[in-house]
Amino acid sequence: MSRSILIGLVWASLPVLAWGQTDNRTILGSGNEFLSAGSFAIRVGQYDEGIRLTELGLTRYQPSTADRAAAFSNLCAAHAAKGDPDTAIPYCDRSLDLSSNNWRAYSNRSYAYFLKGMYSEATFDLDSAAALNPDARQVLQLRGMINERGLRPRVIMEDHQ
């Protein structure tokens, strides 16, 4: 279930900019192909490869602010998918510092908090994601997961006779 959530949270995080480009100039920010490749690798479950490619794209080139925010969100998702929420959360923090209206970053961080059992924090971030995109399947799915862990059911019975 976690992977299906993260696939949705990684998809289209990055704009496809470099595909089909024929210009041979060296272009600042042309590392987007690494970021795109990293995004793809994470989506198909190759988390380590995806992390490596994304970090290459971030460190060797100078992607735009939007691409950097998306890349950090993807790194957050990948580390969370690997079961390492403590590494994931700072990446989501950095993504949201760059772009505070990225619902996927909020959702990724919510999932990371969920893995840590920090349901209050997870709910807070999920509410932020839902405010930006209330109909996102991943938001609804994660809401159900948090509720399942964070709500205690009880049934009160009363006879009338």
Partner: protein
């Protein structure tokens, strides 16, 4: 708001167009009044449209009180109790008599089982009984109260709810003829009915303590945050 069996009965009833005949004497439970709690009464509907209610008084003597005349309109029985200000209504398409009562600011329910009485509006039943159990007004004693399971989908959706099921209890203690009188969400139908049908009451001797008795059970589904 019917069980499958009751739904089939409803379809059959619709097809045959035979509503319930209220004339007669009924052993009933009234519920939902916050100050009075649950009340066990006898209701009598006479052919001349007069309505009477009987409660056991403290000294054990029966006390029949006249209510408003009963009337039927559009398959709905209605009558009123001027003393309590309650307006009663019942859908006669059900398999037994029961429905809701209202005042200006209260809402409750009532559920009945038929009482065999060949003479008049139940006077013999109350007059003959010095023991409350003999009049069928003794409380039912639960022997098994099964707890319904909270549906996992409801937990995921953070959905709370309330269900009221009314039914009849046989002298053997078995529950039968369940009917939903309140169902806040369909997701709670199956677990509530399953729990009720797994429940039973302590049996009694019908020769001394009367026949089947009506009762209702509320299931209130609640979720509490653990964080």
């Amino acid at each position: 708001m019917l069980t499958l069996r009751d739904s089939l009965g409803q379809l059959q009833r619709t097809a045959d167009a035979i509503p319930l005949d209220p004339v007669g004497t009924w052993s009933c439970v009234l519920y939902g009044n916050p100050s009075l709690g649950d009340e066990r009464v006898l209701l009598s509907f006479a052919p001349d449209q007069s309505t009477r209610i009987a409660r056991r008084s403290r000294d054990g003597a029966p006390a029949w009180i006249s209510l408003s005349r009963w009337q039927i309109e559009g398959g709905l029985l209605s009558f009123a109790d001027a003393r309590s200000g309650r307006q009663f209504s019942a859908d006669l398409d059900r398999q037994t008599l029961g429905g809701e009562w209202r005042t200006l600011n209260l809402l409750g329910g009532w559920w009945c089982s038929a009482v065999d009485s060949a003479e008049g509006p139940g006077v013999d039943i109350l007059n003959d009984a010095s023991d409350p159990a003999a009049a069928g007004t003794a409380r039912l004693i639960p022997e098994v109260m099964a707890t319904p399971s909270f549906p996992i989908q409801a937990i995921r959706a953070a959905k709370e709810g309330r269900v009221v099921l009314c039914f009849v209890v046989r002298p053997s203690g078995e529950v039968y003829d369940p009917e939903f009188v309140e169902l806040s969400d369909e997701i709670f139908r199956a677990p509530s009915l399953d729990a009720l049908m797994r429940s039973r009451y302590k049996s009694w001797d019908s020769r001394t303590a009367g026949g089947p008795r009506p009762a209702c059970r509320s299931f209130i589904y609640r979720l509490d945050y653990v964080f």
